[in-house]
């Protein structure tokens, strides 16, 4: 046994999980600790627990991969947010909707150091709508120089050409200084100016939060005398190098479900499958396509703000191990959404409690073996019908999540994995892999590094093949910048989207490239 070791950590709503894997991805240690309000306490506890495992040779630890909810929490709790000067390059084409319109007033007051729509912007075909008004930008930046910790810059059609954003960044450096944080929308979101501007502004506001969590992680590692390379998990189930994550904190916001899907894939060896993560209160069903979570096409909201970020596409149902069953004879059973949650081990029938739960139903049916007693006779009918109903709900949700015809396997992970039946319609087999309880932390530890391009390309002389190749090489370059091994990066996804009502030579292309971690 030799070679490098990696730690994967996933901070969930309830638990913080940590695992240690060796170079051949074998699990050496795992731990589950309660998530703390400050996030860092739970990380430290879980990390300490796995490092204390005798199977772990601390000296060989080279990488730490962290998936965390701190960025979401910071927005929801309005905590540790930076002040941002919001620059939109979009007059006159966007003046009907001002920046941050529709944001909750308190969040806007905390985050915004000032907003301005500057003349400029790009057309869908790459032409300039009007020239960038450099003087107006300088005047605005002068007026907020003392107030703003960072600047968020969003230009009309930046996903087609970023040249106005890049020029504006140079002006910020000259007017405010070299060290001020600058978030550029073309690096953060896809089409849809308002949603992309929102995501870019949140990103600039969150810059300090990631630094805080990684500092706490570093301190915990330092206490063990370790200095491994640190990576953060992002929305699509891939990793960002720490330096990159510090600049793009908003991209970590959906990493939890992505980690769980990737972890389930790894544990089961599947590439195309459905994943059900069954918890105490709810179940999330996601889809694995070519080894990555399928992304949602709908806009994602963070703290009530619509963003252009792409998250794993999930079907969520209120069904978990603690779901409460009620109902009288002959009537339909009420199943959830109420859950006994943490108190399962006191309130469930199999633990001597008085509340019929889905766990009791699973024990009675022989699917699970937990608790200290069998549920009483009088509850059998209710539990039987409840489990039937739960199976039907799960089957319905799984089918909804599927996204295409044909049978696929279902991989079941999470604390409630035993609740799932062994057969479901449209499912080739139900797989419960070993260590499914820490699938999310494993997902972080085994993740690769990716780069993505989502842009409108104007078809020039080379036609479609030329722009497809350009998109591929941009995605590859982005993956390498994020920390992937340049020699091993592969294109994992290509999508072309037609543009309705534009009988013009332009095409929207999405390309994702991914590869294993580089040695640098």
């Amino acid at each position: 046994m030799n070679g490098h070791l990696r730690v994967g950590i996933d901070v969930g709503g309830t638990n913080t999980d940590a695992v240690v894997l060796d170079q051949s991805d074998r699990l050496l240690a795992k731990a589950k600790r309660p998530t703390t309000a400050d996030v860092t306490g739970g990380i430290k506890a879980a990390l300490d627990a796995v490092l204390a495992d005798p199977a772990v040779d601390q000296g060989r630890l080279t990488h730490v991969m962290l998936g965390t909810t701190h960025a979401t929490n910071a927005v929801i709790e309005r905590r540790n947010l930076k002040r941002v000067a919001v620059v939109r390059i979009g007059a006159p084409s966007t003046t009907a909707v001002r920046p941050l319109f529709g944001w909750p007033a308190d969040l806007r007051a905390i985050v915004s150091a000032g907003e301005r729509i500057i003349a400029g912007g790009i057309e869908y075909d790459g032409r300039e709508i009007v020239p960038l008004d450099r003087d107006d930008l300088s005047r605005f930046l002068d007026s907020v120089a003392g107030e703003a910790d960072g600047v968020a810059i969003s230009s009309v059609f930046a996903p087609v050409s970023a040249r106005h954003e890049l020029e504006a960044e140079q002006i910020v450096r000259r007017v405010i200084g070299e060290h001020v944080h600058v978030s550029l929308s073309h690096e953060i979101g896809s089409l849809g100016l308002i949603a992309r501007e929102n995501a870019t502004t949140l990103n600039a506001a969150l810059v300090g939060v990631t630094a805080e969590v990684t500092a706490a992680l570093d301190a915990a590692l330092e206490a063990h005398g370790m200095h491994p390379a640190t990576f953060l998990a992002q929305n699509d189930g891939t990793l960002m190098a720490l330096g990159y994550a510090l600049r793009y904190p908003v991209l970590t916001i959906g990493s939890g479900p992505a980690n769980s899907i990737r972890g389930a894939a790894f544990l089961s060896g599947a590439d195309d499958a459905l994943i059900a993560d069954i918890g105490g209160t709810s179940t999330d069903i996601g889809v694995l396509v070519n080894g990555f979570p399928r992304e949602s096409s709908a806009a994602v909201e963070i703290g009530g703000i619509r963003t252009s970020l792409r998250m794993p596409d999930l079907v969520a149902i209120g069904l978990g191990g603690g779901s409460v069953l009620s109902g009288r004879d002959g009537q339909s059973v009420q199943l959830g959404p109420a859950s006994v949650g943490y108190s399962l081990s006191e309130r469930a029938l199999v633990f001597g409690g008085d509340t019929p739960t889905l766990t009791d139903a699973a024990v009675l049916a022989g699917r699970a073996r937990i608790g200290s007693m069998m549920p009483g006779e009088d509850a059998h009918e209710l539990l039987g019908r409840g489990l039937e109903q739960a199976d039907a709900m799960l089957a319905d949700a799984v089918d909804m999540a599927k996204g295409r015809k044909g049978e696929r396997p279902l991989i079941v992970v999470g604390g409630g994995a035993v609740l799932a039946p062994d057969r479901l319609p449209g499912i080739s087999e139900v797989i419960r892999p070993p260590h499914h309880d820490v699938a999310n932390a494993i997902g972080a530890a085994i993740a690769s590094v990716s780069g993505q391009v989502d842009r409108v390309f104007h078809l020039g002389e080379g036609g479609r093949p030329a722009v497809l190749e350009e998109a591929r090489s941009l995605a590859r370059a982005q993956a390498v910048r994020a920390g992937a091994d340049a020699d091993a990066v592969e294109i994992v996804e290509v999508e072309e989207l037609p543009l309705a009502y534009l009988n013009a030579p332009a095409i929207r292309i999405r390309v994702k490239a991914a590869g294993p971690l580089g040695s640098g």
């Binding site: 006159p92 966007t94 009907a96 319109f101 089409l191 100016l193 015809k405 309705a500 009502y501």
Partner: protein
């Protein structure tokens, strides 16, 4: 007169989506643009055409171009004023109200923001009663209103006056200009008097959209059936409740064409409906039997949320309810059917009203 406040906009948008028949573009940026106009200038005054003076001018208007572009170029604050100023140079008379040329989708909202900024009311009417792909597929064309002069503008101060010989020419000219101006232009067309408008428009569209949106929200929140709201407000009939088991799409001459297959669930188990699409939902077929056809309105609703689903967002596995309701009677006239009947969309069969179909 009715007032629309910022709080009413989500209901209005939901109603516009239903009336969009699967097309008409995303309503979200329209909600923001109108919301900001209301914040600055106060609520929207919605007036019935009967409340307006006979000789006052009512101006149908809206956006022309690609919905994708409108997601980036969300609109200038002055484009409505530019349209009015341009029209003022071409015709005399007093403009007493603006009117959406199309109630379906985003165009049901944008002219409302322009009206608020111009201090004008919005007429409770529109030129389609739904959404159609072309600016000439309007009720005014059927009623014999001259499309000219029309004016077209964009975010800069470029202003184009068009004397098109007919609606079809206007459509071609406006479409070409929209590409030149970056894929999104504002258009005012078919200027007419209130007296003309009373017989040449789909009336009551804005208040109808708000009623639909409110009724659906009420049903959804009470975890009831949003279709019941449509049955009451629109004489809608349910074609099938089920799940999408296949979706196909392709581009043809700037339009997205395709089809979706819906397999029945529960009471509709064993049945299947095929929905044919060209930006909007055109025809619903069960086997070889046509269950509903354009210009009657076919809408696909998410069975859980009740929200209307845009044709671009239809996807395998979605639980949907497909409903259809009668179009404005103007479309059922011989001239109306020439412009928007099944043959206008390339089908080889004649129109049969929804109520006469099985």
């Amino acid at each position: 007169m009715t007032l629309i406040e910022a709080a009413d906009l989500p209901a209005l948008a939901r109603g516009c989506s239903v009336l969009g028949a699967g097309g008409g573009g995303d309503t979200q940026t329209g909600v923001l643009a109108v919301g900001q106009a209301i914040e600055q200038f106060g609520p929207v005054r919605v007036v019935d055409l009967d409340e307006l003076p006979d000789d006052g001018l009512v101006i149908p208007c809206g956006l022309v171009g690609a919905p994708m572009v409108a997601l980036e170029k969300v609109g200038s604050a002055t484009e409505g004023e530019q349209l009015l100023a341009g029209l003022g140079k071409l015709i005399g008379g007093t403009v007493v109200a603006l009117m959406p040329l199309e109630i379906g989708g985003s165009n049901g909202l944008r002219p409302i923001g322009w009206a608020v900024r111009a201090g004008l009311p919005i007429a409770d009417a529109d030129g389609m009663g739904r959404a159609f792909p072309k600016v000439s597929q309007v009720t005014m064309e059927i009623a014999g209103v001259d499309p000219s002069p029309s004016v077209l503008t964009e975010e800069r101060s470029n202003l184009v006056a068009i004397w098109a010989q007919d609606g079809e020419s206007l459509e071609r000219i406006a479409r070409a200009l929209s590409i030149e101006f970056g894929g999104r232009v504002a258009l005012a067309e078919y200027p007419m008097t209130a007296a003309q408008a009373r017989a040449a428009t789909a009336r009551g569209s804005i208040t109808l959209a708000v009623r639909i949106g409110r009724a659906m929200a009420a049903r959804t929140h009470a975890s009831g059936d949003p279709i019941q709201a449509l049955e009451r407000e629109l004489d809608a009939r349910r074609l099938i409740e089920g799940r999408i088991v296949d979706v196909e799409r392709r581009m043809a001459a700037g339009f997205v064409r395709g089809a979706a297959l819906i397999e029945g669930l529960r009471a509709d188990s064993g049945r299947a409906v095929r929905l044919e699409i060209q930006n909007e939902n055109l025809v619903a077929l069960e086997g070889d039997t046509v269950r509903a056809m354009v210009p009657d309105v076919i809408v696909v609703l998410d069975s859980h949320s009740g929200e209307a689903i845009h044709t671009e967002r239809l996807r395998y596995g979605q639980r949907v309810t497909v409903a259809a309701f009668p179009c404005n009677p103007i479309w059922r006239t011989p001239r109306g059917l020439t412009l928007t009947g099944p043959r206008a969309f390339g089908y080889e069969f004649d129109y049969v009203p929804l109520e006469q179909l099985q």
